[in-house]
């Protein structure tokens, strides 16, 4: 087990290094730099911009910048944010908690709801309920996440929604949150989390349900299910204790693959709901050509994906004895 984890971590380091290199090179090949836009509607002189570029080492050849970046990266230094004037690691650390909370809540909705719907469909394959849920999940799966977010806002949000139930944007109530009791603060945070998490989670749940339905159908046709039924077990026990449990194996793989999709989804959801997370920060950094922030965020995302996949593999090994011998 230790050998397996060590090997996967080593592979992960190689992946992260490759991703860092690609992100560094590709982003610097994009037109413009952090000072390009300064010419619009301001009196920034060429001298000013040249000096600013020198200050940040952007006047150096690309390979010099690259080797310096990698050397710093090896020491855990992601560089300075041009737009925030502080270390990238600190700037990202300020945003990661909001994104992790949003992604975790969305993941919870995604898998709980997706597994429940998919299992229900698989166990009643071909029924009217199955057809109806198939149409519903396919529709949800086809919906852009930002559009769903806007629709949820129009129905549920305070003042702008039909039902006037939940806050429209942000992660806490502006100007009031700091004065609430700890319980009040927790409630406030959860209330703000509901709409963005549901928007992100529902679309994911639709995809998960499709996988879960297929996995359930596959398991239900197998001999051990027939044996369980023949032994006289109640249908509920057969479905929940045997079929559902075994059908979860492909879903674990899906869990590992969900991380990058979730991270890209948060970019849109964070924009629609003004959620102060990593996604919005990275989009702003891309427009500002804040190279270090974008490269740093890509590296952090790569680490999260690598760790997510490792977690999925470990879970897989825990629940499926057949793969334990495979290193």
């Amino acid at each position: 087990m230790v050998r397996f984890v060590a090997r996967r971590l080593l592979q992960g380091v190689a992946v992260v290094f490759l991703v860092a290199t690609l992100a560094f090179i590709l982003f610097r090949l994009a037109p413009g730099d952090p000072f390009t836009r300064m010419g619009d509607a301001s009196s920034a002189s060429q001298e000013f911009k040249a000096q600013a570029r020198r200050n940040l080492g952007l006047d150096q050849p690309l390979h010099t910048q690259y080797f310096r970046y990698i050397a710093n990266l090896a020491r855990g230094d992601l560089g300075m944010s041009f737009s925030e004037q502080r270390p990238v690691l600190r700037a990202i650390a300020d945003r990661v908690p909001a994104t992790v909370v949003l992604a975790a809540a969305a993941l919870l909705i995604d898998f709980l709801l997706g597994i429940f719907i998919g299992a229900a469909q698989g166990s009643r394959a071909g029924s009217k309920a199955d057809d109806l849920l198939s149409v519903l999940t396919l529709t949800l799966y086809s919906v852009p996440v930002f559009w769903l977010g806007l629709m949820l806002m129009l129905v549920f949000a305070h003042n702008v929604g039909l039902l006037d139930l939940l806050p429209a944007t942000g992660s806490k109530t502006t100007g009031v949150y700091e004065y609430l009791t700890p319980l009040g603060q927790l409630t406030d945070r959860i209330r703000h989390l509901i709409l963005p998490a549901v928007a992100l989670g529902l679309v994911g749940a639709a995809g998960t349900a499709r996988y879960q339905r297929a996995a359930m159908l596959d398991v239900i046709r197998q001999d051990f299910i027939r044996t369980a039924r023949a032994k006289g077990l109640r249908e509920r026990s057969v479905l929940l204790g045997h079929a559902l449990r075994n059908s979860l194996l492909p879903i674990i793989t899906l869990f590992g693959l969900s991380f990058p999709i979730l991270l890209s989804g948060t970019v849109l959801v964070e924009t629609v709901f003004a959620w102060p997370g990593l996604g919005k920060f990275v989009v702003d950094a891309i427009f500002a050509r804040d190279y270090n922030v974008v490269t740093g965020a890509v590296i952090i995302s790569a680490c999260m994906v690598v760790l997510g996949n490792l977690l999925a593999d470990l879970l897989y090994r825990a629940v499926d004895p057949r793969v334990r011998g495979v290193v």
Partner: protein
Amino acid sequence: MKRISSLTIPAVLAALVGSEGCAPDLSCEGDWCGTLVMVSPAEPPTLLPIFAQFDIHIALAAQLFWRLADVGPNPTSRGHESFVPGLAEQWEFSDDSLTVVFRLNPAARWHDGAPVTARDVAFTFDVYRDTIINALPRSRLDRIVSVTERDPATVAFQFSERYPEQFFDAVYHMRILPHHLLDTIPRAGLRNHPVARNPVGNGPFRLRRWDAGEAIELLADSTFFAGRPSVRRLLWQFSSDVPTMVTQLAAGEVDVLYPVTGLENIDRIRGEPDLRTVDVQSNAYAYVAFNFRDPADLDRPHPLFADRRLRRALTMAVDRAVIVRSVMGDAGVVPVGPVTAGHWIWDDDIEQLPYDPDRARTLLSELGWSDSDADGVLDRDGQPLSFELLISSTSVLRVRSAVFLQEQLKQAGIDMTIQTLEPNAWGSRVFGSRRFDSYFGSWLQDPSPGSVTESWTAAGIDAGNVGGYTNSEIDRLVQSARSEFDPAVAKEMWKAVIGLINGDAPAIWIYGGVVTVGIHDRFENVSFPWDEWWKNLWMFRVAASRLIDRDLMPAY
């Protein structure tokens, strides 16, 4: 294990949705309550004014740091009579007018309690002039030879020459910094020093907290020497795009959105019962500029736009009033030239090229352009009259205006293709490689007409004048206008400058004038000055009868 009731989850959800959180005691009373929540699309990197590069950064720094003096309600950059006191309560020119001595207000204090002194002013000048800091206004301070402390409350500015904008240059470009807190920090490290994001200021508000990516919270300084701010807190939220910010305003989560762009967004805000819109004179104008150099070879003149008559024909083919009305409604103004409405050199009498499609067509015909192949596009020697317009995708108004412009030029037989680029790609083409036919830009003007120099004279070739337009007569007249002490004569000179530029048609001035601000209607004493719309936020107030929960939060 005890089974969770199937009703438990819905019950918890219902409780969460129904709960508004455990509200604290709402204790603020009197005239000084009120929380003003602003929203902006960008977050500043620091709060030190020396590093300010865009308006939100300047706007926030301005709440914390004040100037020695400021332009008055009718902003002009000339003389000193119309300026209002800031950190300095009095000033006096020497007999030769080469020295101006400021007397600081003894009540002016830093937020840590230390007095604002002449040493702070001298230190500030030194920092702004430092090439390591390389502050954006550094070159605007060229003619100030020295700033010296005469005594703790008196400071003298020495100029190299006498000119009408001496006082403006002395006070407008610098916001005073605390010597006692910044002096020991190496200049090269100041930008990244923690103090840059947690500064001690001298303005109406002090920093309380900065939640990166989310909001900055400022608290009113109740002992502020110029008077207690009328709101107790100023929260500045950072959002992303215009529709999200409009939603935040409509949902009551923020109080002010400057500016609201897009007629549909303005209509939405006007339809909300608790909101109102305020039309504000803007200090920006937008234009379509032509490149005078061939984008394929910058040493050669542009095959189309090097010709003055062609540029004039294009300008006369465009009905700018229709464009402005279509994209901005009644709020828009057609600029009389490269100048914004409200600026002291603006005058409706400035000579402009009229909208005259017949004259445009005649002129084009005289230049040899005709539709020989009947495809709707004029051509000459087998070459169609066609060019490309570059636009940054982030400006909704520019993108929409370009479509109307394209249609109007098409009616005149001119084929303009619109290339919408991501902002950096756009900036790289326009301000970097300068390989473009034309671009849609905008320019912010301060009270000095000197900004005309940066965009439309030979002196601006390395700055804003990326199209490379020059006219030696204009260059000469600009120098004379800048040195002219008689305001009336100077204004006439500037009008002549603008008229000459208009005659050369280096650009088509598309829109400017007024922007619309969305604001919660509980605020009174609302004003947005022309030169800096953020200047009077500290004077906004909420009547006691209109206070909402966030206005009533207890004091710290």
